[in-house]
Amino acid sequence: MGNLLDIRHLTVVYHTEEDEVHALSDVSFSLQKGETLGLVGETGAGKTTTALAIMGLLPRRVGEVQSGEILFEGRDLLRCSDADMRAIRGASISMIFQDPMTSLNPTIRIGDQIAESIRQHQPDMKRADVERRVDEILEMVGIPAARKREYPHQFSGGMKQRVVIAIALALEPQLLIADEPTTALDVTIQAQVLQMMGDLQRQLGTSTILITHDLGVVSQTCDRVAVMYAGEIVEVGTAEDIFLGKTHHPYTTGLFGSLPDLNRETRRLSPIDGLMPDPADLPKGCRFNPRCPHCTALCRECEPELTARGSHAIRCHLMGKEERA
């Protein structure tokens, strides 16, 4: 089975007034048809930038793709014209944003916001058919079709996120990018929304990139996981590799150690010391070296490569050595 999406050596820089911020460095990963990939990391790791780069929605004038390719069904999205990208966005690739409160236009009825997406890509569709499709998709995300004439402020947060999902799935895209889709929601609502998203995804066969900081959500929904740190992918593998495997990048280990575990008694957590480096002023060598408990002289000098062993790849000098030995 071929890859739906192939990202190769993607490097993105933000030019701000004061600094040049290295948002993404040499990010490569791929996604198969029907697969769900979890993109995990903390604030500023580059998760959202990756998503925006795929969508071609990096902030104009500020964000610049310096190198790399984003191959979607074999076509490099970075070389597509604006018109081609518009035809792809919303139809073949859709995105769900984090904050449902601000993601919907407050002055347009929700039914019209969904219909806009359909009309944009299928201008010849009859009015009645568009309306029928809107009803259908609303029912699919668990909103009575009768509510399509209401405005966003009449919906609760969870309901708004359902509308946002309805917009994204209206044209049954091949790829869905969900950027922290449930972070702003309460746990019980989060469970409802995740459940619904999973059902729809199986039903429509959509491939998904799920961006989140919540390892629990990832473990329950994703086939493969990529862990990001300071603009790089530091570890990538199948869910089994990440959640059951023995060897990990020290950052991944730290991430797991930081989580209070519901099933185990631990008096103290084992967090990672220090902070994420300033992306405008990255450390030399491995980006994690100032916080790494296993840091060596080599780590301070050379940047490690992402080394794969089967389905599991780790960007760490220590792992590389182990493999060679």
């Binding site: 746990v187 469970a191 409802q192 459940q195 629990g216 575990d261 519901l262």
Partner: protein
Amino acid sequence: MSTPLLETRDLKKYFKTPAGMLHAVDGVSLTIGEGETLGVVGESGCGKSTLGRTVLRLLEPTAGQVLYRGEDITTFDKRRMFAARQEMQMIFQDPYASLNPRLSVSEIIAEPLIVGKLCRNAHEMNERIGGLMETVGLAPRFAHSYPHELDGGRRQRIGIARALATNPRFIVCDEPVSALDVSIQAQILNLLMDLQEDKGLSYMFITHDLSVVKHISSHIAVMYLGQCVEYAGTKELFANPLHPYTRALLAAIPVIDITRRGKRIETIQGEVTSPIEPAPGCRFAPRCAYATEACRQEQRLCQVSEGHWVACCRAAGEEA
């Protein structure tokens, strides 16, 4: 039984809104013992933050009592309340909004010392500030920095140092880690637990995150629409949740468990109803799979086993 450090009795806080009275906290009775941590969990709008503020009289309660060492602080005059405030402090959720942006780190920590007249001279003040910064793990070189120059974790440490300045016995922690990234969150949780051990502090720990609350609390109160629906020791609550809402809440937590991938979990339907002029009876009933005619009646917290209270006629009956 000795008097608990803090006790609320039928505490109520209502707010006037154009649509009617909003019952933010509606008859909550809880106790917190010396050196214990009471975790208060619930989803947004359940009144947990209002409860924390009412306990400290940052909001005046509409009715009910707050007993601190057996004395009702809601009847205290200004002077006694001022003295009580030295012992009862608060740590806030938002590490950005909770620090005055015009003051430097040392000035922020100095505020409670100046207001409480706790230092005799500038030298003593500097010593105290230095000591507090060390306690919370802030390097001395940040003393003259401003909050906006620091990251969320350090800012939250400033907030903790400020709360500790008056040597309190009891601290209300209002979602102190929910705005932080996981690795920083763990650092702050460890700090709070170390402080508790060293100083014998008692916490009321307000959060929506059940895994955090399980980690830090000795007792847990689950709130739903202004009311406490279940109250028990942490182990007991997780081992034997009785209220349907508690069960739903526990089931909804995304634990790390790849065997659950793709499997359906039991979710509760619907969303939280309005806290404005709520109908009598169990407030969870509209979403509850087991709701019956009996749920239309007022549900009171009943003790079903030693230290385990639940406000659900069905659960209480089942257990008894």
